[in-house]
């Protein structure tokens, strides 16, 4: 177990923490739009950190490119689907949550 293994473990643990933050936001936030924020940001970051931890362990450049491609794909599709969901929710008449004093 050299320092690369410790770094991988650290990246994976922090990535899991971001996934937890995204799920807690999904359950606890009051409105669809706020949940979209929490979910896409935290999931992209969590997946990016797990992919980084995996990138430290693989042997060849082809696998590195594949991992980078996975992360970039999830980033782009996540942003697109988040926009589409927010647009569809707005068209169906959802009002954003206002903080009642």
């Amino acid at each position: 177990m050299n320092w690369i293994d410790y770094l991988t473990i650290l990246c994976i643990i922090i990535g899991c923490f971001f996934f937890l933050a995204g799920t807690v936001g999904l359950l606890r936030l009051p409105d669809v739009f706020t949940r979209l924020h929490a979910l896409t940001k935290a999931d992209n970051l969590g997946l990016g950190l797990i992919a980084l931890g995996a990138a430290l362990q693989v042997g060849s450049v082809a696998e590195l490119i594949k991992l980078g491609l996975i992360w970039a794909l999830v980033l782009v599709t996540g942003a697109t689907v988040a926009h589409l969901i927010a647009h569809s929710a707005l068209k169906q008449g959802e009002k954003p949550w206002q903080k009642t004093p």
Partner: protein, 98 residues
């Protein structure tokens, strides 16, 4: 080392189970679409962790295809959610069935 991968994969599966609460409870259709997006991203992460544990490169190919399919499914569900539902007078409630 393998313990870390398995523990993290188990933790992510528990996250998916917690996301199912939002699928059941979510008052709008958009909430359920959100949860599908969660499943896609978390499933991709689980597949990457599997590829590290089994030391097999095939799982990373699976993760790539999963990420693609999750995006496509998100788009399809959004287009499906925009179709109008049945008009309010014709919706059958449970009481009318008795």
């Amino acid at each position: 080392m393998s313990l870390v991968y398995q523990g993290a994969a188990l933790f992510l599966v528990l996250n998916i189970a917690a996301g199912l609460v939002r699928v059941l409870r979510g008052p709008t259709k958009a909430d359920r679409l959100l949860a599908v997006q969660l499943f896609g991203t978390t499933g991709t992460a689980i597949l990457i962790l599997f590829s590290l544990e089994m030391e097999d490169d095939a799982y990373r190919n699976l993760a790539l295809i999963f990420a693609l399919l999750a995006g496509i499914i998100g788009v399809i569900f959004t287009r499906y959610a925009q179709k109008p539902g049945p008009p309010p007078q014709q919706r059958i409630t449970v009481r009318e069935l008795d």
